[in-house]
């Protein structure tokens, strides 16, 4: 078995584009769910909007890249508004289902045959990331710390932009959550009526949380699209949201570093298990399962790992055990 490979892949994934994408998605969720208590299960929809905004603007309409970015941010905000108006009056668990529904609607629309001229149907769209990579300041070559970390110049560019976005988003949230604004959000999470009775416009705050979280999510969508140089509708299915939640809970909800560390750890473990297993089978270290079963076993281990982590550390990596025990049934 090639342990260098396994470790190197795990570490790379832990700091790679996957980690960035899920960190951004989870940071958005952190605003919505972690701080405000909005159970948004449609985060995948926001990522899809970000990704498709760039792809459609550039690939379908041939317009400039930055216009796509602008449109993406705008559409994410608009989608949040549209989603918020009917749903923010709902109880948290209703909101969850409605947002899943909304995200699925987004996905079904962009993958539909009828609109495939615009969205590319199930194949999605490609060939839109040229201008992004044109801005790449890294000359071709391998970067990193051999033998563990190695990225090519394209990845380096994605990673740089991605982590800068993560850092900016986190810093803004850090400042915001320390402020009275953040306090109102946290209070809404606990009891809206009480907050209302104190003269705060709960609807407006929830809407702000939804919009901010959604826009951060759409940043994740940008990175998703650009790092793959392709958009594909089914990547934005509910599973994405589920994993983003996992990342958030794993890191610790309502903690600034929670989503970031959660995402890094999640991908590190996921790839460690996956690569390890794959390598073991391919190299003949494990013989009792066939290649066809590797995928299944890996998913089983992922599921198991997820459960064990949450069972033994329900508050996540950064969470406060005291908070958890307050509302246990």
């Amino acid at each position: 078995m090639d342990w260098t490979l396994i470790f190197s892949r795990a570490v790379e994934a832990g700091i790679g584009s996957e980690a960035i994408i899920y960190a951004l998605a989870a940071i958005g969720l952190n605003v919505q769910f972690g701080y405000t208590g909005l159970l948004n299960f449609g985060q995948a929809g926001f990522l899809a909007i970000g990704a498709y905004a760039i792809a459609v603007t550039v690939a379908t309409f041939g317009l400039p890249f930055f216009l796509g970015v602008g449109i993406g941010l705008l559409l994410a905000a608009v989608m949040a508004l549209l989603l918020g108006i009917p749903t923010l009056r709902l109880r948290a668990d209703y909101l969850a289902i409605v947002t899943i529904a909304a995200a699925e609607i987004v996905r079904l629309v962009v993958r539909s045959v009828a609109l495939s001229d615009t969205f590319g149907g199930t194949d999605g769209l490609q060939a839109f990331s040229g201008s992004f990579y044109d801005m790449n300041p890294y000359p071709p070559g391998e970067y990193g710390i051999p033998p563990i970390i190695g990225f090519d110049n394209r990845s380096m560019w994605v990673l740089t932009v991605g982590w800068v976005l993560v850092a900016i988003a986190s810093f803004i949230l850090f400042m915001a959550m320390k402020s009275p604004w953040g306090r109102v959000l946290k209070a809404i999470r606990e009891d809206e009526d009480a907050v209302r009775s104190l003269g705060k416009n709960v609807f407006s705050y929830k809407m702000q949380a939804l919009v901010i979280g959604g826009v951060i999510g759409s940043l994740g969508g940008f990175i998703f699209a650009l790092s793959r140089s392709a958009v594909q509708p089914d990547l934005y299915s509910t599973d994405l949201t589920f994993y983003a939640y996992t990342v958030l809970i794993l890191g610790g909800a309502a903690r600034i570093l929670g989503p970031i560390v959660g995402s890094m750890v999640f991908w590190l473990l996921l790839i460690f298990i996956g690569t390890g297993l794959e390598n073991a089978v391919n190299s003949g270290a494990i013989t009792f399962i066939t290649v066809n079963q590797v995928g299944a076993i890996r998913l089983m281990l992922v599921g198991l790992g997820l459960m064990l982590l949450l069972i033994y550390r329900p508050q996540g990596i950064f969470g406060d055990k005291r908070e958890i025990s307050i509302d246990a049934r």
């Binding site: 529904a101 045959v113 089983m300 997820l306």
Partner: protein, 421 residues
């Protein structure tokens, strides 16, 4: 477009064996050959290439000397009396012929005397439209009942423990595959395999709470954490099923591909009628049990306030375990019925999970009757909406309805608002 050339391969003996390029066809009306009709072939530039007259078996062919685009014209004057082209404008067809390849050409004929749109009904004939509407309503009921059966268990478990169980879809799948195991692997008849599967599923549900969820509650794991754990569990179970049974679709040994029977405008298979009967009975039984039996009320009490339920002398753990057992059992039943009417696949439960959630939510969270009503609405909209939107997008219909209903009634159809203050 590149040219397409077919080369004759050894061993072929059918009409496909073309020696050179030709245009050919068989003229038929309602399966009967039509003879004596003249067909002419010309090049794109209207230079005549050749002509043929259909033989007694209706066939005709015209050889062309090279690949390209040709105009094929049916001389409508030569058609036998009472026969006409279905679409008189399509008496001349432009066809592409490729190198070394025969091209089949078809002219659709109708009885000129027959009423227009008669047998084909492709002009949106009213009756076939309404047949479809009736069929869709029936299918909506059918799907709605299955969803309801799955959703009741989901709603029960949510109601009593507050757990949003994303692994519920897998409980359906497990039920279906348990029956599959006894049925196909061990060779028992489905009617024997199914009850065994249900018992095991109930035991599995019981054990799941006894050894897993119950332990988590004891550790005071938060509901959101439990929800995420259920996502992990779903992933695990699905992968396990993939591991054990593979990725392909499977079916039971009995009741496969039954022919439909016609009931008025609706075609239905006997098995699905039986399945619907079982579903209705089980749903009503569950509903009544919840409303009227002491244990049913106890489950609602536990749902409301476990500590107080315990203080009233209710063994909360036992009630929850019972709910898990029955919820899993009902889910398994839903899975088995879904397996008989559809097919088994390791993702079958997951595929209707969203619809189950939609049903539960639409009806009003935590109310078992709400789950039933909501699911029927969802099932109905999924199917009936295909009248207006392409079937590929049919779930959108149900999801949009979900959003609209919740805008009007934020607590769901049967849910009740909480008192403030």
């Amino acid at each position: 477009m590149g040219g397409l050339i077919f080369v004759f391969l050894a061993g072929a003996s059918t009409a496909w064996a073309a020696e050179g390029e030709e245009v050919r066809g068989t003229l038929r009306i309602q399966g009967q050959p039509v003879a004596g009709v003249k067909i002419t072939v010309a090049t794109d530039a209207d230079a005549p290439v050749g002509e043929a007259t259909t033989g007694a078996d209706g066939t005709w062919k015209v050889a062309v000397d090279k690949a390209g685009s040709y105009k094929v014209t049916l001389d409508q004057a030569t058609l036998p009396a009472g026969k006409a082209l279905r679409d008189p404008n399509r008496g001349t067809l432009t066809v592409q012929v490729f190198e070394g390849n025969a091209r089949n050409v078809l002219f659709g004929l109708v009885d000129a005397n027959a009423p227009p749109q008669g047998q084909q009904g492709d002009g949106g004939g009213g009756s076939s439209y309404w047949t479809r509407v009736a069929q869709l309503v029936f299918e909506g009921l059918n799907l709605g009942l299955i969803i309801a059966l799955g959703a009741v268990g989901l709603s029960l478990i949510f109601g009593t423990t507050g757990l949003t169980n994303f692994a519920h879809g897998e409980l359906l799948t497990i039920g279906a595959f348990l029956a599959f195991f006894f049925n196909t692997v061990l060779g028992l008849h489905l009617l024997i395999a199914a009850p065994i599967a249900l018992v095991i599923a109930a035991g599995f549900g019981w054990g799941q709470d006894r050894f897993f969820w119950g332990q988590l509650r004891r550790r005071k794991t938060g509901l959101i954490s439990m929800m995420i754990i259920s996502i992990g569990l779903a992933l695990f179970l699905r992968a396990l099923l993939l591991f054990l049974f593979g990725g392909g679709g499977e079916s039971y040994d009995q009741y496969v591909a039954q022919a439909g029977i016609q009931i008025g405008p609706i075609s239905a298979t006997p098995k699905s009628l039986v399945a619907m009967g079982i579903e209705i009975v089980v749903l009503i039984a569950v509903g009544l049990a919840l409303t009227y039996t002491r244990l049913g009320k106890a489950t609602r009490a536990v749902a409301d306030n476990p500590a107080l339920a315990s203080s009233s002398g209710i063994n909360v753990d036992r009630v929850i375990r019972l709910v898990w057992a029955s919820g899993t059992c009902i889910a398994a039943l839903a899975g088995i019925l879904l397996g008989t009417t559809q097919n088994l696949n390791f993702q079958m439960g997951q595929q209707i999970l969203l619809l189950m959630f939609a049903g539960v939510t639409l009806g009003g969270l935590g109310t078992a009757f709400g789950a039933l009503v909501g699911s029927l609405v969802v099932g109905m909209f999924v199917q009936v909406s295909t009248l207006w939107i392409p079937p590929e997008m049919k779930t959108i219909g149900a999801l949009v309805v979900l959003i609209i209903v919740l805008m009007v009634r934020p607590q769901g159809i049967l849910g009740r608002r909480e008192r403030i203050g």
